[in-house]
Structures are given as structure tokens and as C-alpha cells.
């Protein structure tokens, strides 16, 4: 048996798509949204408190600029409140909020880099995607770093991706929108989302390799 003729792969189960929110959480959120629609400011503030960190990170990852991220976050929550009546409850409130925040963050990014960011343009994903570096990371690579250090690494490597790839990865793999929701939010086709996502995942894997490969930082 050569070294490649091994038994069946012993991979961790593939990460399942996120489960639907529990009834309790959903009901709690629905109740908060309903109260906020009725003018209950504290209910809306509870929703803001629940999601402000995630929305700020999303805006920061898209804009790569702290001031723009803060503005985008503020405007997102204000817009959400103004348009709360339009939220029909067909999706999670957070998914709806993410779509608002993506639009606000993209506006900031486009204002700063008008010639660079056009999400609906064809992007070249056709170059050879075969990974160049193939090294195992060991079982729990993230345990090697403290939480702050890890957050710094993740922020750095995602910031190095071009916006079309970075934003698709952000929505699909960090915010956990479905492929269809991501396509709709960005005005892209489903195949375009899939090809950008594949490219983004492979690029990030490669960038993280320097931090997580076996023997590194151990």
C-alpha cells in the first residue's frame, strides 16, 4: 500500500448549514420586531444590542475602513428602523438587516474606491485553482492563538481578498446566508456566487496556511 492508499477519509462531518433558529429565539425575535414596529424603542434597542457587533464586523470587513464601517453600521440601524414596516417576517430579521448593512457598506466602499468595486462585473475565476500548498493543520489550529490574536489574523487575511470574493465569503460563510440569499443581496447569479465562494475559500485557506500548518507557532 503506498502512502496515498489509505482507508476511507476520516474527515470531520461537513459543517451543516445552520439550523433554523429555535422557536424560542424566533418567537423572541418576532415579538421584539413586532414591539419595535409598534413604536417600542427599547425593543428596537434590544435588537440593536443583539446585532451591533456582528453588523460592525460585517461593515468593517467590507469597507476595510473603520470610520466608514461605523457610519455604515449607524445608517443600517437607522434605515432598518425607518423601514421596519416593510419587514414582512419572511426571513430572519438578521438576514434582512444584513442586506441593509451590505448595501450601506458597499456604498461607502464604492465612494472610496469607485473604479475598483463593481460587484456585478465578471471576475476572473478561471485561472488555475489547484492549491499550491498542501499541508495539514492538525486538529484545532485556532487553539494556538488567543481570541484577539486570532481575530486579528482573520481580519487581516479576509482584507487581503479582492472585494468581489471577500463580500461573497462574508455573506455565505460568516453571516451564513444561503447561496440564493447571497445572490439576491448582491445582484449576482447563483453560479457567480458559487465560483467566487470557491475562489475565496481556497484563497483564504492558502493565506491561513502560514499560521496554522503543523509545527507553525507551536
Amino acid at each position: 500500500m503506498d502512502r496515498f492508499s489509505m482507508s476511507s477519509p476520516k474527515l470531520d462531518p461537513v459543517r451543516p448549514r445552520p439550523p433554523l433558529p429555535s422557536t424560542v429565539v424566533k418567537d423572541d425575535e418576532s415579538a421584539l420586531v413586532a414591539a419595535a414596529k409598534g413604536g417600542d424603542i427599547s425593543a428596537f434597542e434590544t435588537l440593536v444590542g443583539r446585532y451591533e457587533r456582528k453588523i460592525f464586523r460585517l461593515a468593517q470587513n467590507i469597507t476595510q475602513n473603520r470610520e466608514d464601517a461605523e457610519d455604515a453600521m449607524q445608517e443600517s440601524f437607522l434605515k432598518a428602523y425607518e423601514h421596519l414596516d416593510e419587514f414582512q417576517g419572511n426571513s430572519r430579521f438578521y438576514t434582512w438587516l444584513v442586506r441593509i448593512a451590505v448595501n450601506q457598506a458597499l456604498m461607502k466602499l464604492r465612494r472610496r474606491r469607485p473604479n475598483v468595486v463593481s460587484l456585478d462585473q465578471e471576475v476572473d475565476t478561471g485561472e488555475d485553482m489547484m492549491p499550491r500548498e498542501v499541508e495539514d493543520w492538525g486538529p484545532s489550529p485556532e487553539d494556538r492563538y488567543g481570541q484577539t490574536e486570532l481575530a486579528g489574523i482573520l481580519g487581516k487575511v479576509i482584507g487581503e481578498l479582492d472585494p468581489p470574493f471577500r463580500i461573497v465569503f462574508q455573506l455565505r460563510d460568516i453571516e451564513e446566508l444561503s447561496t440564493e440569499e447571497t445572490a439576491e443581496a448582491l445582484g449576482l447569479s447563483v453560479p457567480a456566487v458559487k465560483s467566487r465562494l470557491l475562489r475565496a475559500r481556497l484563497k483564504l485557506r492558502e493565506k491561513l496556511n502560514q499560521y496554522f500548518r503543523r509545527g507553525e507557532h507551536s
Binding site: 496515498f4 492508499s5 470531520d12 459543517r15 493543520w137 484577539t148 481556497l202
Partner: protein, 85 residues
Amino acid sequence: MKCKAIINELADYLDEALDPTLRASIEQHLGNCKDCRVVVDTCQKTIQIFCNSEPAPLPEDTRERLHEALLRRLRLRKSPDSQRA
């Protein structure tokens, strides 16, 4: 299947969006190809690390500005005078 075909199907494989026949072919290949197995495994870990990462707490001054902006807007909205203005 060849390694290149595995990479092309990787996103759908990781998302469990492949039909069972194609999935079985990929898993058969992974059983025999250590390089592809490592790529799949490290890609899964890449997604998990990002997905599991907690956002940093909002800086206090950022949070204050957010809540001030919200309160200003919400009060304006509730005020009948401002609605008539």
C-alpha cells in the same frame, strides 16, 4: 475523478449540495488521495474558524455614538412637532 475535478466541485461538496452519486465519487477519490483530503479538510477548517469567530466587542465610543444617533432619530420620529415640520 481527477484532483482538478474535485477542486471544481469543492464548494458544493462542502455545502452538501451535491447529488449522492457525485458525492460518493468524490469520497472514493478522497480515500485514495491524501493531497485532496488535506485540501478538503483545511478548507472545512477555514470555514469553521471564520464561522465560529466571535465579533470583537464594539469599542465603547463607537457604541455611544451609535446609540446617540439612534435616540436622536427615534425621538425625532416620535415627536409630533417634528412630523409636522
